[in-house]
């Protein structure tokens, strides 16, 4: 993906730490480089420090340690209003006492842009979000989705190069969300702006972003394009957090460059890809995606290790079948199979054998 050599990094966090109370670090050692034009999503559970990072970038919080650079310049000492960063707040923060037009021309007025110019820009911004007819209304007279669009237009109207969005779609229903997700990415790409987007909805993160930074415990656990993140999680947190995931626990028996033999707790041995294990004898969590598990022998590689499984439950979900198995003492092992004419429908109580390609089974940290 993007080349992140320090020369052309547009946004850069360098060993940034943040503490509110002087006792605990909310952000621990954050390092991040973003090229211009990238759509980066910060994804993570509640309280993992996403908003804090955004606020430090916007200038509303100061980093306790480390440096934040924008376009190569350190911005720690630039006040927020001089940073020229557009921001969409979670609750939109549209000024309730101003009309939509006034809201949009506010950033232009404080930049001392002439009246006619201002009106043209406001109109263009409103048209861009398809809200051209609503200029005379107050924010309270708009629906949530409309307010969201106005907030977006307001953050873009003064043509910032960097736009921050803090869970802007949190308050919308599913359908509107999906529509807005598309509109936001479309706009961002059309205008070529750099976006830092915060969410704790992983679907949103995966569908919208160029890269996703997974936050936990004040650290970036992994930063990668969506497909890489899903298919090659670097640790068990990311594996658990992104998408559905099966976990088996065990001990590394043999370790080579591309293959690790892991002995599960009930004595069975499986082939895995070593990702986050260092030596024989390490405890590990093995992660397999439900759709990568096979139970029809003809589809498996010769010599693959097989595991015995008991079918517990079969769930018909339309496009896929979801089957819950009991495997190696884990009763919540899920497999997913596509609903095709030749697909087998398993019945509860059935004894089967399952397997997978070694590269789909990742041995991660315990």
């Amino acid at each position: 993906m993007a080349d992140t050599s320090s020369n052309d990094a547009f946004v850069e966090f360098e060993r940034v730490q943040k503490s509110y109370d002087g006792e605990t670090l909310v952000v621990k050692d954050l390092n991040l480089k973003m090229p211009k034009g990238e759509f980066l999503t910060m994804l993570g559970p509640s309280g993992s420090g996403k908003t804090t990072c955004l606020m430090m970038l916007a200038g509303f919080e100061t980093a306790t340690h480390g440096e934040i650079k924008l376009d190569g310049r350190p911005i720690n000492n630039i006040p927020p209003h001089k940073r020229g960063i557009g921001m969409v707040f979670q609750n939109y923060a549209l000024f309730p006492h101003m009309t939509i037009n006034e809201n949009l021309s506010f950033p232009l007025e404080v930049r001392k842009i002439g009246k006619s110019d201002r009106e043209a820009k406001v109109k263009r911004a409103l048209d861009m979000v398809e809200m051209g007819d609503f200029g005379g209304r107050r924010p309270a007279q708009l629906s949530g989705g409309q307010q969201q669009r106005i907030a977006l237009a307001r953050a873009l109207v003064f043509e910032p190069e960097l736009v921050l969005m803090d869970e802007p779609l949190g308050a919308l229903d599913k359908q509107l969300r999906e529509k807005m997700q598309f509109e936001i990415t479309d706009l961002a790409h059309r205008l070529g702006i750099t976006v830092v987007y915060v969410t704790h909805d992983q679907t949103e993160a995966l569908t919208m972003s160029d890269r996703v930074a997974v936050f936990d415990d004040g650290r970036i656990q992994q930063i990668a394009p969506p497909d890489e993140l899903y298919e090659s999680p670097q640790n068990s947190f990311v594996a658990q957090f992104i998408g559905e995931n099966n976990t088996l626990e065990g001990t590394v028996k043999e370790l080579s460059e591309n293959l690790a033999l892991v002995e599960l707790d009930d004595g069975e041995v499986i082939d895995c890809m070593p990702v986050n294990v260092n030596k024989v004898g390490d405890r590990t969590k093995v992660s397999i995606r439900p759709e990568r598990v096979e139970f029809q022998k003809d589809r498996l590689q010769e010599g693959a290790h097989l595991l015995k499984a008991t079918v517990k439950e079969f769930i018909y979900m339309g496009d896929v079948f979801r089957t819950r198995l009991s495997v190696a003492g884990n009763d919540d092992f899920i497999i997913k199979s596509r609903n095709a004419p030749d697909q087998v429908r398993l019945k509860p109580g059935e004894q089967i054998e399952i397997g997978w390609l070694p590269q789909d089974c990742r041995a991660l940290d315990a």
């Binding site: 209003h81 557009g86 707040f89 923060a93 000024f95 506010f106 950033p107 404080v110 930049r111």
Partner: protein
Amino acid sequence: MSDLKSTGPQTADAPTPEDALHEAAAYAAREQVHAPGGPADGPVLAADGTPLKRSLNRALRRQKMRALALIAPLLIFVLLTFIAPIADMLFRSVENQIVSETLPETVVALADWDSEAGAPPAEPVFAALYVDLFFAEAQKLHTRLGTRLNYEKTGVSSLFRKTGRRVGRFDTDTYTDQITALDPGWAEPATWVAMMQNNGNRAALPLTARAWDRWTAYLASEGDDPAKEDIEDVLFTTLYLDLVATGGSGAADARIAQAAAAVGGFETVTLSEQFAAADKDWLDPEVWGTIKAFAPNYTAGYFLNSVDMQKTPHGIEARPENQQIYMMLFKRTIFMSIMITLSCILLGYPVAWILANLPTRTANLLMILVLLPFWTSLLVRTSAWKVMLQQQGVINDTLVWLGIVADDSRLVMINNQFGTIVAMTHILLPFMILPLYSVMQTIQPTYLRAAKSLGATNWTAFWRVYFPQSVPGIGAGSILVFILSIGYYITPEIVGGTTGTFISNRIAYHISSSLNWGLAAALGSILLAVVMLLYWVYDKIVGIDNVKLG
């Protein structure tokens, strides 16, 4: 605290008065939506076939009745203790029955007198006054009337008091003597009692009949029997006057006809001379003009007084320069109330801002400090200011000690406007801070952040984004403080001296010292009107639904 026009969620199941209001408002809103170009196919029907509107109205009415029942105790309480006194006060400011009740004959007799002619009225008016004053003196009402008329013309009070002492000793016994000489029966009370029961006699002697009725009523109120009390000179005077006027025609008693035949040769008493002898002011047409001007039952006189005008026999005119005080007091009251409100805004706004932006725990702690003044007696706080500000007080002592002020030119900070404004600002400050605080609490900090992220400096963000949203708080606080201060009494009384007193101090003076309740009521009514006017202006400019208490 709640929004004056709360829109909060209705959580309780029980109907509250607000419920009904909300429903009604919502209903009105729905109606408005449907009114223009509503469905053309007749009214919407409810499930039971009645028009939807009617069944909705019925449901609403029930709710409203329940709401009304809930607020009834308070409503009755307020009616009795607040609305009724105010109505009474408004009434007192125009009520003026004392003249026509105390001097009924005079008022009627004066109707034809021309106050512009420059001459005192004719003899019959004096005769009427003689009758009225006799009874007024008997009931000790003449001093009250004198006091009342003295508000309008100085000297009338002593005139009435002086004349009241003399009225029993007028030379009218001349008539008594001459009439009883004709027939000794006239001296018998029983004769009069019998005579006055006959309608023919009463018609022949109208003035006497009216005087007799007042006489018997007076005796009854004293617990005396008219048949046993000696007949007073005044009744013989009225008898004489009636006989001269009507000739006693139509009277049933022979005694009356006999007297009527004789009165032509009587020695007469000129009552105007009698009054002039008691006090020569009775010949002054101004006195009579005043009585005539205030004869009606209702008068604008109190209100005219309240705005430094007066009603004279010659019409409405300004009071003499040296008696003009109320307009100045009104202006001062309003000016100082505005100053107090402004200083409350200036001092209270930053405090409310800090309170609203602190963590709740700290804010609550500091809130106690704001509320602390409420827990100390008003008198104590005001007196404390006296100690602080007086010339030998703490502040002056400190300034002298620091050498900023010379010992012989200590600052005068109390018993003037400055002291009043300082003390009242302190006392009323919580009323500004509380609404400001609760409004500011609802302004989310993200608005300021949003403004800054859009490029506004701290000041612009505050002025363009935060301040407009806090205006409802300023409005609510200002209305509270202004209305409280415009009617404030204790503090200006204690620290106001002569230059710092308010109109309310004058009202209190008229209520408790000068006992001119009518004037006090008029002043109070004007104050009320001023407050309502300001409220109305505020509503026009800012909009009263913009006032938020939380």
